[in-house]
């Protein structure tokens, strides 16, 4: 088995402009995607059932997917087989007045006569979803604001703090754009994932800032040390989240799948943002900013 080593990057070969250009371009691209989503759908990311309202059923039936599609008065938005269990499906509907669970029970054949067809049902009215949406926005906003204030309190100077805030912002925007492209709707689970990104991603930024600003020694030496630790951290978390996302997808546990997936993407974005965007800002600050 090979050993996992953090590679040493020769940062002297790149200018600050070059370093910052890549993450900024990715960020700009992500923002464009979100803006496009806003223009086309009215929201930057498609809203899932938790926020737009609708019904989701997990059913167990011997009927085929085509039968399931035809079994309801309302056409399902999606029918998706659960990987780990035979005959189980997740079926989603837009908001409706009708009782979908009842229709499933009466129109589909159960696997076991004693048990019903519907294993799990979640029904959210449009207005409830609207409320949840406002609350989630408020929560995300408050979390981000709180984190930003804390960053300023911790480092008490503008550039290093703004570096943390900018990279956290990008860490949030990139997974959102990814959701848009991969057609993952915003759900309670993904919001939880986004909030965790704020918590997780700041770790490596703080580590980097701390090593460069609060300790003596050569800039590149400090950077390398911070990277040794920080990249190990982030890659370990990414691996755990990927495993969690895949296994949860196989078992059909949506909440855990969305948290895992969003964090995986967010942490990947964080690697780039921390060691390119944040680093270039810090290098500028250390060599030119302070001198001014």
């Amino acid at each position: 088995m090979g050993k996992f080593e953090v590679p040493e990057i020769d940062y002297t070969r790149y200018t600050n402009r070059q370093l910052a250009a890549v993450p900024l371009a990715v960020l700009a691209f992500a923002l464009c995607i979100l803006a496009g989503g806003y223009v086309v759908y009215g929201t930057p990311v498609a809203l899932g059932m938790d926020f737009a309202g609708g019904t989701e059923l997990q059913i167990e039936t011997t009927d085929s997917e085509a039968d399931i599609e035809a079994a309801f008065s309302e056409e399902p938005e999606s029918v998706q087989a659960v990987q780990a269990a035979d005959n189980q499906y997740l079926v989603q509907f837009p908001p409706t007045e009708d009782d979908m669970a009842e229709q499933a029970e009466s129109n589909l054949a159960p696997v076991d006569e004693d048990e019903g067809v519907v294993l799990q049902s979640a029904e959210t009215s449009a207005s409830f979803g609207e409320g949840a949406q406002q609350t989630a926005l408020l929560g995300l906003g408050a979390a981000f604001a709180g984190m930003s204030i804390l960053a300023f309190v911790l480092f008490r100077s503008f550039i290093p703090s703004i570096a943390i805030v900018a990279s956290a912002f990008s860490d949030l925007v990139i997974p959102l754009a990814f959701m848009n492209i991969a057609n993952i709707p915003l759900s309670l689970g993904t919001v939880a994932g986004l909030l965790l990104i704020i918590g997780y991603s700041v770790d490596s930024d703080i580590l980097l800032n701390n090593h460069i600003l609060r300790r003596g020694g050569d800039f590149y030496e400090s950077t390398h040390r911070a990277m040794q630790t920080g990249v190990t951290m982030t890659v370990t978390s990414m691996a755990a989240m990927l495993v969690m996302a895949i296994s949860a997808w196989i078992f059909g546990v949506e909440l855990l799948m969305s948290i895992g997936l969003i964090l995986f993407v967010g942490l990947a974005a964080d690697l780039m943002n921390t060691y390119m965007l944040n680093l270039s800002l810090l290098r500028w600050y250390k060599f030119e900013g302070i001198a001014r």
């Binding site: 007045e97 029904e123 409830f128 949840a132 609350t135 309670l188 965790l196 370990t236 969690m244 546990v253």
Partner: protein, 533 residues
Amino acid sequence: MSPVDFIKANWRVLLLAVFISFSLFFMFYPGQVIGGDDEAGFSENQTEDDTFHNIQFGLGLDGGTQISAPVIGMTVENIELDLDDPEDLEEEAQSIQDTIGDELGTETGDLLVRTDAEHLEISVEVFTDDYTAAEFAEAIQAAGLEVSEDDVRDGVTAETRDDMETTIESRINEAGLSGTSVSQAEMDGTFYIVTEAPDMTDDELRDLLEDRGVVEIVLHYPDGEGGQLNETGLEQPDMGDIGSPSIDSETGQHYVPVSVNPGAAEDYEALMQETGFTQNPGSCNYDASDAEGSNYCLLTMVDGEVIDAHGINPDLAQSMDTGDWSSSGNFRMMTPSQEEAQTLAINLQAGELRAPLNFDEAQSYTISPALADQFKNYSLIIGALAILTVSGMVYLRYGDRRVALPLILTALSEVLILLGIAALLRMPLDLSHVAGFIAVVGTGVDDLIIIADEVLDDGEVNSRRVFESRFRKAFWIIGAAAATTIIAMSPLAVLSLGDLRGFAIITILGVLIGVLITRPAYGDILRRLMTDK
């Protein structure tokens, strides 16, 4: 080494050991752990009789139904009254309620005026969506109060919501269901009543919540001109003791025995005499067209619907006629079936649901016990896989068991301590909590890696002083990172965003335990392992 020195040198590890032992105790000590209210204990007996641990599972991992629904109604609050004598407040409020009621034509129980004796203020609520805000404001103006349409807000007062919470709770208790919880949640300015019931399907819980349960006995008697009149005789507050549903062995009639409160009993008796009921026992042929104009029926009504119509029993008629009945006030409320007698008894015991719930704007979630059980196993597997992955990565990175093994054990002990706390607090665990556990392992490992790198920096740690200084450096980063995670998660812990509250609470708790207890201990363990060699 003296014991004091030993403790001084190893306090971090000792503290961790203490926490782990306590957690194990809380998790596995059979029976009830410290504290806890009776209700929760009851649910535990019901659902987790044969488990070997004290951990409770929530809806998502145990099966059941949750419904969150807003309340139907409109409210005007803080209307000041200009009273000469504060004693008149109640009386004035009653007359205002009557005026508004007449103006709007509300049915029994759809209108309520609450008084605030301290500020001499009243609030007016209407529990139906049959009227517009303008109509409501006009009706209040008709009672001589200065209120505009803008003062009317959707929803009901906090008192009404608390009232409803109590009613739903007692309804569920009356129905013999356990482990249920009722709470309120505010989202974007709207208040929701959240009812959680294990062992119940969506339809069952809906049935229980749907009925207002406004119970009345209505007198249905001839108006003397060939028609019939209806008059309310008894209402729920008039009844004292409510018996259990019974059946009359002679007639086979189902009923709920009640005793009418003194005062109300006299009024009722007088009314029965005035209307001629006591002279016409057994002459009820409800809804038959040829009996129109000659019916003497007692109607058992629930939410404005007639569930039973009966003539008065000759014996009862006689004892009412002589005025003897009111001293005992015993009365039978008739129902057509055993089931309805049961529902009626529950409605009488629990009282009416002050306002109806709006199921059109609700959210509901149901999961079958079988699937919930599967989820339990799945989350164990997913959690185990995540931890295995982390362990593998850490081992790959350090290639040194002395660093990697305690690191993983420390991360696991955080989960263990969290489970202990959950068992102690009887926190019902759900999928969202599982997500929280995994997040805690994630942040935990991050911090442990920081400590390991910092402590192992530049070769051997050969003195205590060097270790302490390096540890402090590491701790600054960990503390800062923990603070951000806590700040990022705290909005979720406060806002009522469904499942996510549990996730946030576990993550915050886990980070706190990690930073204060387990992660420092790991530093100590690492120092021993690295210096003692």
